[in-house]
């Protein structure tokens, strides 16, 4: 589906130091509290973060042509859970990094996310130190705000 894919697999050509910088974008799929915190964290890392609290709204955004560099989603969502949502995102052609989040680390949850096509899995609350390497994988030119000269 056009517009549903992530950006260029992290080759970094969209943001270069010294040039006009395009911010990385992220979609957070989580309950309102966790979403608020996760979005604030991403924005503090200079990532433009959007949030939805269910998979249907995410699919709608993507089908309207929105694309994101990163999708972060909770295992528990109303309706379609995070594992199924991940499978469906990949089936839609979404190629960007997808990270699964869970309230409790359990091996089954981790494996379920990875089997569904997620690139990583973290226990909540996700931290800046966990996100920064991912952002650098997406864009090798990415630098977190505090590290910039």
């Amino acid at each position: 589906m056009e517009g549903a894919t992530g950006n260029n697999g992290g080759k970094g050509e969209h943001s270069k130091q010294g040039d006009s910088v395009r911010k990385l974008t992220a979609l957070v799929m989580d309950d309102p509290i966790c979403q608020r915190v996760e979005r604030a964290l991403l924005m503090s890392l200079d990532v433009e973060a959007h949030g939805v609290d269910n998979a249907h709204d995410a699919f709608k955004l993507l089908s309207e042509g929105r694309s994101f560099d990163l999708i972060i989603l909770c295992s528990i969502l109303p309706g379609i859970n995070g594992f199924m949502a991940t499978r469906m995102l990949r089936a839609m052609g979404v190629q960007c990094k997808i990270l699964g989040l869970c309230g409790l680390t359990v091996e089954q949850g981790r494996q379920a996310f990875l089997d569904a096509g997620a690139d990583g899995y973290y226990e909540k609350p996700i931290k800046a130190a966990q996100l920064i390497p991912i952002l650098k994988e997406i864009d090798p030119n990415y630098q977190p705000p505090n590290s910039r000269a």
């Binding site: 966790c34 608020r36 528990i76 226990e123």
Partner: protein, 115 residues
């Protein structure tokens, strides 16, 4: 204490662009907690207990408690989920009572923080 390092992270995320961030997140937490605690209370009155449903509610509650750094509430959520997985109804009931106490204390501490 009742709040862990995550609460400090929330304070650090508060800035001129988000001057009331901590208060907003805590307000969202209160609203969501009230709903979840009511759901769990009602679910604990059904016999036999639906452990999967209870586990699901507590999974959500643990996630949001973790996000605001509610350390003791989070610990009780984990214990409750262990009892759910073991199918231990008495353990669930006992832990839930303790969780409600910890939650009430947390709210008092947060109210003092915002004054």
């Amino acid at each position: 204490g009742y709040l862990d390092d995550q609460f400090v992270q929330l304070e650090e995320l508060q800035d001129h662009a988000n001057p009331n961030f901590v208060e907003e997140v805590v307000a969202l937490f209160y609203k969501d907690s009230s709903r979840l605690l009511l759901n769990i209370d009602q679910a604990l009155e059904k016999k036999p207990l639906e452990f999967t449903k209870l586990d699901g509610y507590m999974h959500q509650f643990k996630g949001s408690s973790s996000s605001i750094g509610a350390k003791k509430v989070k610990a009780e959520c984990t214990l409750f989920r262990d009892y759910c997985r073991a199918g231990n109804a008495e353990g669930c009931m006992r832990t839930f009572q303790q969780l409600k106490k910890e939650y009430a204390t947390l709210r008092k501490k947060l109210e003092a923080y915002f004054q």
